[in-house]
Amino acid sequence: MRFPSPVLRRVTAVLASALLATSALASEVNVYSARQEALIKPILDRFTEESGIKVNLITGGGDALLTRLRSEGRNSPADMLLTVDAGRLYRAREADVLQPLHSDFLKKVVPANLRDSEDYWYGLSVRARVIAYNRERVKPEELSTYEALTDPSWKGRLCIRSSGNIYNQSLVAGMIATEGADAAASWAKGIVANFARPPQGGDRDQIKAVAAGQCDVALVNSYYYGAMLQSGGEEEAAANKVALFFPNQDGRGTHVNVSGAGITRAATHVAEAKALIEFLAGEEAQHWYAERNNEYPVREDIEPSKRLQSWGEFESDSVDVTDLGRLNAEAVMIMDRANWK
């Protein structure tokens, strides 16, 4: 068979070279990332510019990457695992695929409750689970806590996505950690009783439903709201009808989760991986998370972006995010029993 064009020939050559494993270069770091390429690549490119270290990337679901890491064992090419919630990092440590990273810098800047107590991983950015409310139909004075949303006065007025979503699972896990399993179970039942519609769609869909009046309040992650405000067009218009409220300010604080990273046990580029994690906790990257992704910096000494500041300051729950991972399965079972779809 003749190849009809040089383009096709080149594509074939590229594919053929990738059919077998190729040997490693010296100055590079291999990252398994649960954070999507579009949300991490620009800052990784900045790291390469600054350090000369090439970053190789595979993105995918946190648990799937973890499974790959586990089965590849000591020969895994991955040097670093990056996830978008603390629970997966907890699981990675449990699965014994991480090694401790001792960094005075990281220990200094990352708050103790947002990293592993034995240095296996560090939180890098913070996302808050907040109440989004319709500006016309709800006054902020009516809002106070997550718990208050179970009041019968909210019956048929609450939107939230399915309990399969990790951030809902973390929210309930955090509640188990601070208030106990019984309180979390009755909270889940109370929330289910107030659903305006069966759980469906993503966080943006909840915000849109609040804007359109299908429900009055929704529990969402703050950065989706920010992304909608940045998007222009219909989504921006919808977001403008909605405002955010940070619950539980007089008590344990608003629930937060982190994205974070750790170095794998199989790592062959430990120094490079350490440099990358420290870079991601550095000033430039921390500002970038806020500006570009509307996430809160993990560092207390760095100001959030102007947009984030305009939503107001808030106290975050000081629960150790490790507990979110430890209690995740229990949270799912509680939601199953509450018939939270």
Binding site: L20, A64, S71, G202, G213, Q214, N328, V332, M333
Partner: protein, 558 residues
Amino acid sequence: MEIATRTQALPLSRRSRANLGWRVPMLLTAGVIAVPVLVIVGSLFQGFSPVWEHLLATVLQDYVVNSLLLMLGVGVGTLALGLTSAWLTAMCDFPGRRFFNWALLLPMAIPAYIIAYTYTGILDYAGPVQSALRAQFGWGYGDYYFPAIRSLGGAICMLSLVLYPYVFLLARVAFREQSTAVLEASRSLGKGPWQTLFQVALPMARPAVVAGVSLALMETLADYGTVAYFGVNAFTTGIFRTWYGLGELQTAAQLAAFLLLFVFTLFLLEHYSRRRLRFHHNSARQQPGRIVLEGWRGGLACAIAGFILLAGFLLPALQLGQWALERWGDTDLSAFSRLVGSSFGLAAMAAAACLLIALLLGYGKRLHPGPVENQAARVSAMGYAVPGTVIAVGVLIPFAWLDNRIDGLMREHFDISTGLLLSGTLTALVFAYVVRFLSVSLQTVESGLARIRPSIDESARSLGLRPLAVLRRIHLPMLRGSLATALLLVFVDVLKELPTTLILRPFNFNTLAVRAHELASDERLADAALPALAIVLIGLLPVILMNRTAGAHEPQQN
């Protein structure tokens, strides 16, 4: 049956040589391809965790009922849409038939979760249709009834719209390959056109129709993106919830194993129910003439085909196009063309690999129709009913095990480390595609072979042709339509494939589907539109090319 009798009449030495020639590679290949499925089924022997009690007590019943309803709905939906379009384009003539002949394949190129996203954008409470209704009539929430798109019914519609082409393609080939004599015999015996359809043409096309529907149903069972987005608690939701939420990979694999056993049972039942039936006919291969639909009948036929095309392709494609235009300025074209190249190459390789293996297994079964061969082919084609991520795990584990064993031996004896030889390479990825999509090409090839009379094989063999020569000189030319269909289906499936690619790919390797999904799952639908549209457009290319091959004989016959 007839072949088996004849083979026994051959001298022993020749028979066993023929057996070795086909049986050994066939069983070996089937065995290797079955490994990931067996890894998953093997989880059943590893003990059941206490989580099972929780699942049984709370959610499992919901998962099972919803999945059964989903299968029922998609079965009816794909049959209705697929048979209608196949019958109209293959057996009738109406204005626009030639256009619809290929255009009705287009929905196949749209990934199910993408069509779900676009229809949600259009029909949701906050979307343009309902907003316009509310503005027009001054309604508020709860004042009017509008079917909820994100529901079980919505999922059935979405999946039916993108999966009916399986039925369409396979049934169309079957209809075209039916002999005019059989259909005319029916008509001359006093049956009308409708009776001929339901009592002769459809029953004769049964292997093809069953193959098409079972492909659609297997894909339905494996779907995760659509049901997850619509909040439908189907069985796949359960598998992933158990894995991700409860952190129980083994229990998740056990759930997947039960899914496999269920599908396997369905296959056995179907096979059993048609065990005494044969679907080839003895008349000359002359294509049936078309029923010419004129006047309002022609208009109606055109309208029906047009509606299917509109709902399955034009509306979602227009929505994607509009989104893509909004974001055109932000697009990095050179990165984008690399994506196109890698997606295209990967899909082509996987389609070719699947076709070769399907021919090996399909023809092997025909040569040696024994229980071992049948089950080997069956098991190796089970991957289609399993969610891609689960298949990926089934591929990951044995590959990594093998690599690590080799590495361990090399370290021990030669003090060198070979690292991972195959894990994380495109070889592993293409292998996974074969595991996942072999069913598509195998069913297509088998249903094609089933329509060729065994007496043809016998005549050829008795004239001294070896089995390979029979395949090459007689079957392949006769199967041209089925082969093109098999290539096309796998090509488009791989183009759309997401979860397996995501987890098994090498570093820095992206495809269009990966890009589209990453953006869509971050709820950035507008940004996802361009790669999604590109999948559709690249899918178009082979649809047109192969449709030409599949239908090449038409003009001379008309």
